[in-house]
C-alpha cells in the first residue's frame, strides 16, 4: 500500500470502519511510513477534540413537554395530537 491509498482509508481507519483486511494493510503501511502514521495520530486527536470539547445542551423543558404531549396517555392531549393525523 502506498500513501495515496492510505489517505483514502485514513478517516475510515479513525472511525473503525475498515474491513479486517483493509485494516491489516493500512496498519502495515503505517508501521513503515512515519508521515502517514503522524497524520493518523493527528486525525484521531482531532476527532477526540470534537467529541470532548463540543458542549451538549439540554433541550428546553417547554420543548420536552410539548413532545411528550404527542405520546401522552392523557385523553385530552391525545385528541390534540389527532389534529395532525
Amino acid at each position: 500500500m502506498d500513501c495515496t491509498k492510505a489517505s483514502v482509508l485514513m478517516s475510515a481507519a479513525v472511525d473503525g470502519e475498515l474491513s479486517f483486511s483493509e485494516e491489516e494493510h493500512f496498519l502495515s503501511h503505517l508501521s513503515e511510513c512515519k508521515e502517514c502514521s503522524g497524520e493518523f495520530d493527528d486525525a484521531k486527536k482531532t476527532k477526540m477534540i470534537i467529541k470532548e470539547k463540543i458542549i451538549r445542551f439540554k433541550a428546553p423543558q417547554a420543548l420536552i413537554d410539548s413532545i411528550m404531549q404527542l405520546t401522552n396517555f392523557d385523553t385530552r392531549e391525545t385528541e390534540e395530537t389527532r389534529l395532525y393525523d
Binding site: S7, V8, L9, M10, S11, A12, V14, D15, E17, G38, D42, A43, K45, T46, K47, M48, I49, I50, K51, K53, I54, I55, R56, F57, K58, A59, P60, A62, L63, I64, S66, I67, M68, L70, T71, N72, F73, T75, T78, T81, Y84, D85
Partner: protein, 209 residues
C-alpha cells in the same frame, strides 16, 4: 423518558376507551424509540440553525412528522438516524427557502451559549504538554463552524452523533466514498484551525512528540 408503570398504564388504558389499542401501542413505541433522542436532535438543530427558537421549531416539526409517519419507520433500523434525516429535510424545506441566510455564524449567540460554561483549561489535573488541553470549548466550536457546510456536517454526524458511514451516506444523499473523503479533508481543515488557536496559547504544534 417516563414510562408509566404497568399497573398505572393498565388503568389509563381502561379509562381511555376512546383511544384505540393500536394508537396506544404506537405511542408507547414512539416514546421508547424516538423521544429518547430529543436532546441529540435539539443539539443538532441548534448547530444548523444557530438560533434556539428555530431549533425548537425544527425539532417540534420533526417529531410531529415522525409520529405521523411512524408506521413507515423500518423497525430494527436506527431510529435516531431516521429522525435526523427527517430533521434535515425539514431544515432544507423550511429554512433554506426563507430569506434567512444559511451558514451565517452568529458569534454573539455562540458567546451567549458558552458564556456561562466553566472551561477546564486551567484546572485540568493532567500534566500535559499537549495542545489538545489548551483549547477552549468556544474555540473548538468556532473552528467547527468555520468549515464549509459539507465538511462540518459529516464531522458532526460522525464525531458528535456517532453515526456509521452508511447512516451518514444515507442522510447526506451521497456514496460512502464521499463521506470518507469529506471526513478526511474536513478533519485536515479543522486541524489547521485548531492549531492556530493552540499557537495563540503558546503551544508549538509543529512538534511531533
Amino acid at each position: 423518558m417516563n414510562k408509566p408503570a404497568p399497573t398505572q398504564q393498565k388503568k389509563t388504558l381502561e379509562k381511555n376507551a376512546t383511544l384505540s389499542r393500536e394508537e396506544r401501542k404506537k405511542q408507547l413505541e414512539f416514546q421508547n424509540e424516538a423521544v429518547v433522542h430529543l436532546h441529540s436532535l435539539y443539539n443538532y438543530a441548534l448547530h444548523i440553525t444557530m438560533n434556539p427558537d428555530d431549533a425548537e421549531d425544527l425539532v417540534q416539526e420533526t417529531y410531529l412528522k415522525a409520529y405521523r409517519f411512524f408506521n413507515s419507520f423500518e423497525r430494527g433500523t436506527n431510529c435516531k438516524a431516521w429522525l435526523f434525516k427527517i430533521l434535515k429535510n425539514n431544515y432544507i424545506n423550511r429554512f433554506r427557502k426563507d430569506s434567512k441566510e444559511p451558514g451565517k455564524v452568529d458569534y454573539d449567540l455562540i458567546k451567549d451559549f458558552y458564556h456561562s460554561i466553566k472551561d477546564t483549561r486551567n484546572d485540568t489535573t493532567e500534566a500535559d504538554s499537549d495542545y489538545f488541553h489548551s483549547l477552549l470549548h468556544e474555540e473548538v466550536y468556532q473552528a467547527l463552524h468555520s468549515l464549509p457546510e459539507e465538511f462540518r456536517e459529516v464531522i458532526q454526524l460522525c464525531d458528535i452523533e456517532g453515526f456509521t458511514y452508511e447512516e451518514i451516506a444515507n442522510m447526506v444523499d451521497s456514496p460512502i466514498g464521499t463521506v470518507r473523503s469529506r471526513l478526511y479533508r474536513g478533519r485536515k481543515l479543522l486541524r489547521v484551525q485548531l492549531e492556530g488557536y493552540a499557537q495563540k496559547h503558546g503551544f508549538n504544534t509543529d512538534d511531533n512528540q
